[in-house]
Symmetry: C2
Subunit: 388 residues, 2 copies
Amino acid sequence: MNAELGLSDQEIPSGSALDKSELETPCLLIDTEVMERNIASMADTARRLGVALRPHAKTHKLPSVARLQLEAGASGITVAKVSEAEVMAAHGIRSIFIAYPLVTPGKIRRALALHEQAELILAVDSLEGAVRLSEAAVTHGGAPLAVRLEIDTGLRRTGVPYDDAPALAEKIAAMPGLSLTGIYTFRGALLDGAPTLDLAAAGKQEGRLMADLAQRLREAGVPVADVSVGSTPTAAFAAAVPGVTEIRPGTYVYQDRMQARLGVCSLDDCAGRVRVTVVSRPAPDLAIIDGGSKTFATDVQPNTAPLLLQGFGWSTELPDAVLERLTEEHGMLRLGPDAQASGLAVGDVLHLVPNHICSTVNLHNQVWFRGTDGRYTPQPVLARGMLE
Amino acid sequence: MNAELGLSDQEIPSGSALDKSELETPCLLIDTEVMERNIASMADTARRLGVALRPHAKTHKLPSVARLQLEAGASGITVAKVSEAEVMAAHGIRSIFIAYPLVTPGKIRRALALHEQAELILAVDSLEGAVRLSEAAVTHGGAPLAVRLEIDTGLRRTGVPYDDAPALAEKIAAMPGLSLTGIYTFRGALLDGAPTLDLAAAGKQEGRLMADLAQRLREAGVPVADVSVGSTPTAAFAAAVPGVTEIRPGTYVYQDRMQARLGVCSLDDCAGRVRVTVVSRPAPDLAIIDGGSKTFATDVQPNTAPLLLQGFGWSTELPDAVLERLTEEHGMLRLGPDAQASGLAVGDVLHLVPNHICSTVNLHNQVWFRGTDGRYTPQPVLARGMLE
């Protein structure tokens, strides 16, 4: 397993490979074969559509998995934090896009230091932010900092408003110390500003908005090369739009219940399973498992449109059980007729596909990779919990 | 600061005390004075009402803070996991109640090992669980394991159903290797099975249910001594019921927005603040901060009855701003008229009281304690992310 993932010494914990029955719960298991299939599949998509693939590492938070993505053809990786970039660079990842506006002196200083040992691309979305980066880069000296301008294409979070982008891009392009190499956006599954299940339309709209904008910028004399788009649900559709040059999906590496519900994958493509134990059976229709909100992420809530997921995760063994409520250490599993008839007892073990794998990984200090021998090896999630 | 908290060497990180302006964001700040006031206040309540105080360490997850609680008069601490108990015991905490049913051989084995170096109390809530504990304790030998029976008083998670308790208690009391020393419940702010803002009525009902049950058990020949109840909102009210012997509040140590909304405390009593930086100002009514769902817990959702909290946290500087949406690294702050008039700009720093401090602490690898000199010292959250 370690050899399979090409782990460095620092990445291997003291724990040795265990049989599944020996694993303490709750824990997060990754089916390595499924993960590798997902990695290959997205790499194929990018190759077929002629775009670069720069996966967001927020899903796995592991240099070892980033290396597998690079070996499969990714041109580099994406992260959100300087601290994540530092971990990745320290473990041999060369090309890193920090897709988040860095505006504080401390973070900018760390990015400039990292710039000397890795191929870094930074993000800007405001004049103030760009001025800060430019001044710091000039003071620091050395090669200009590659930056991409983030565009808001409807999600209303970071990103310069779409129509304000040309004016800002012209100003950034003229700033010393910076080299404006591209534009990027993150939108997810959104159509005309609203969540949608129509991924083809969403991805096409996303790609067109960005390709059109890139063209406008070039006509205005700003020679942007990279037009970077795409989340896991929209990547394939956005990448098919002429003018798009790069996709940055993250979740695809493990997939999750949300993606399965979106139709991106099947539940069998979900490489991550939370293994839990039934600790109490206080009523015929209720089982309590030893995973609560410290184990399952709560950022993707049940019964929210358009996904309308039931519960916080889906049990592969008990399809009609709903993980209805969570407190920190307890999961309340409401049992349907089949689950009630299953004879589920205290001590039984279940495996659940979490709603959102990225934020679930962030809750786990380690994940367990299934080796070809069927045994599980723990890896510390090195870039977990990085907030700076 | 370190001397103030009586830290052991292992608990002190390499980072030295920093001025507030030097802190990288997002980060979690603890006002040490406010925390100490909260610790003293709950200790006074327990003393005044003649009950033992056994705080749940799930809020702070720090041996150093547990020691402060013990010094203020707590009789021991409560945790949910064997791994948390191991961390606490390794840092000198002697009396630990693991208020969670341990049903797997591995966890029971670890608890029995820990039992030799700390005064451990375990929890049971089912016949199967009790049999497993009893058999393991007999095999292991040594002093009997003190256990408490968990009672479901309406929350419908772990806990034997109320009316089934006497029969189960009699069986457990007769098991070799175990000493049934008490009963306990966790209910939170619940009245007649439903969430409530009437804490006095909720606490009184909780206390009465448990005191009555203890009396029934004693009449049936099961000599339970400890009658343990109480969350932060109900502790003072439940403790006033004759027959209750112990309270186990957790949140009170730092307090949070949820408790302030419940009327337990004021926002000024909340010792925890998430410090964030504005990274983007894409529209007059929108500011993006560098804390999202990796920084603010999402288990207590906005607009949920009966709390009806607006947003995922409350900014002390901008009272009419609502932290309306979160993605992993982005917080979308909708600005009201006053906040819009404030001139909020990229790079500005804000401090937010999180909805739920316990789960927010769990997201932070370290917290920063404010010393009497106004500088901040980081402490690694040693029992953070403990799932086993």
